[in-house]
Each structure stands twice: as C-alpha cells, then as structure tokens.
C-alpha cells in the first residue's frame, strides 16, 4: 500500500483524495479529517490564516508520523495534504485520510496522525484580523492529546 505526503499552497479536492484512498481491494474502512480556516480566535474576527513551514523537514516528519501509524494499525493507504501560504476564511488547511480493514483502526490511525502532526510537524500559523495579525500560540491541549497513544 502507499503513503502520500503533500505540502502545497493550492487547494485540494475531497473527491480526488477520497478516490485515491478507496482505490485498493483490501480496505473497507476510510476515515478522513479536514481542517478549515474559521473565526476561532476569542474576541476578534479572524479573516485569514497564514501558514509557513520548514521545507524538507516538514515532509520528513509527516512521513515518519504516517509510517508509525501504518505499522501500529496495519493501515493501507495514507494521504496527508497540508497547505501553506495565505488562506482566507473558509479555506481548507489540512487533510488526513487513511484506509484500513477495520473501522476502529481507521479512526484511531487518522486521529493519531492529526495529534502528532499538531505537535511535531514544522508548521507555524499566523492569524490575520482586519487591522492586525498575531502568531498562534501552541496549545497545551494538543500536547495532552498525545497521552492516549503512549501506552
């Protein structure tokens, strides 16, 4: 089976990505996660996010995370797409999709990848408001999300 990792400024198509995940004869379960730009900052209204990354290192880290998930849950296909650049409200930021023979493995595998991506992948996010901007701070809750995978 295969792992596909992409870091790109272009948008991605849900139908295409799903097709590449289901294009295998073994796996009956597919789970996907998609993150979107939202007005999630308390108080001010976010109008866009700006994403930068460490070219080269990011792809290596994502591949390592995907490989760990693949082994731990016997996943089939794994697709990770993360966008960078200026992303206005409503835009897609990240896609993680996995295929598996079993429902639980697909859910856990996809969640594991997102949890580690949030903690380890070398992306930095800046929120743009109408008249200002602010770098997003790392959330402790994202760190705690790793606890459940450490048994």
């Amino acid at each position: 089976m295969s792992i596909l990792i992409k870091v790109q400024s272009e948008d991605f198509d849900q139908g295409d990505l799903h097709k590449s995940l289901s294009d295998n004869k073994r796996d009956g379960a597919i789970v996907t996660f998609t993150g979107l730009v939202r007005e999630f900052s308390a108080g001010d209204n976010v109008i866009a996010l700006e994403l930068e990354h460490y070219p080269g290192m990011t792809q290596q880290l994502l591949l390592k995370i995907a490989e760990q998930a693949k082994v731990r849950w016997s996943l089939g296909k794994i697709v990770i797409v993360h966008r960078v650049g200026y992303l206005p409200l409503g835009e897609q930021i990240v896609f993680v999709g996995v295929s598996s023979q079993h429902r639980l493995a697909a859910f856990e595998g996809a969640q594991f990848i997102m949890d580690y991506l949030k903690n380890q992948a070398t992306f930095w996010k800046k929120e743009h408001f109408e008249h200002s901007s602010k770098w997003v701070e790392f959330k402790q809750s994202d760190k705690h999300a790793l606890d459940k995978w450490k048994s």
């Binding site: 994403l51 990354h53 949030k118 903690n119 992948a121 930095w124 996010k125 770098w135 790392f138």
Partner: protein
C-alpha cells in the same frame, strides 16, 4: 565536492521560522564556526553580536533542529550543519 568545501570553511547555515523569524527580521544566515560548539553556545554568541536578538534567542520555549532532526540545546554543531531555530509548531 560542495559538501567538503562547506566543511573546510567552518560554516553553519542557520534558519529561523515563525514568530522568531519575524522578531529577528531574518530568515537565515551563515554562521562561521572556529570549532565545534553547542547550540546553546551559538545562541549566546549570536546574542552577544546582536544584543537586540538576545530576548528572542534566549526564550525557553525555542526549539532546535539540527540537519532537520529535533535536538536539545546541548547538541554539538559541526561545520556544514543546518541548524534551525523556531517556536513550538502550530500547524493542522
């Protein structure tokens, strides 16, 4: 060979990302090593050369990657290495 040339000149490529890049107003620089030094020592040396960088380079939360692998501040840097400094990641 490019690799050994870089090695012989004792140069280290430094990269900065995220808020640190913005605060230093610097993407990258080439740092010259006279002998192998820890990341901590390189940060202190840079801060002494550029006093306005000092508060940002000494932030406790700052992370380091040497040749694209996460490492601690006591790791030794050699000629030809790529050293990146950045705040905690916030992607996804």
């Amino acid at each position: 060979m490019t690799g050994s040339e870089i090695n012989s000149t004792g140069k280290v490529t430094l990269l900065f990302f995220g808020q640190l890049k913005e605060r230093l107003n610097c993407d990258s620089l080439v740092y010259t090593l006279t002998e192998p030094a820890t990341i901590e020592a390189i940060k202190l040396d840079l801060a002494s050369q550029q006093p306005n960088w000092q508060p940002w380079l000494c932030e406790r939360e700052l992370l380091a990657a040497l040749n694209q692998t996460m490492v601690g501040n006591d790791t030794v840097v050699n000629s030809g290495d790529e050293l990146a400094l950045f705040p905690p990641v916030t992607g996804g």
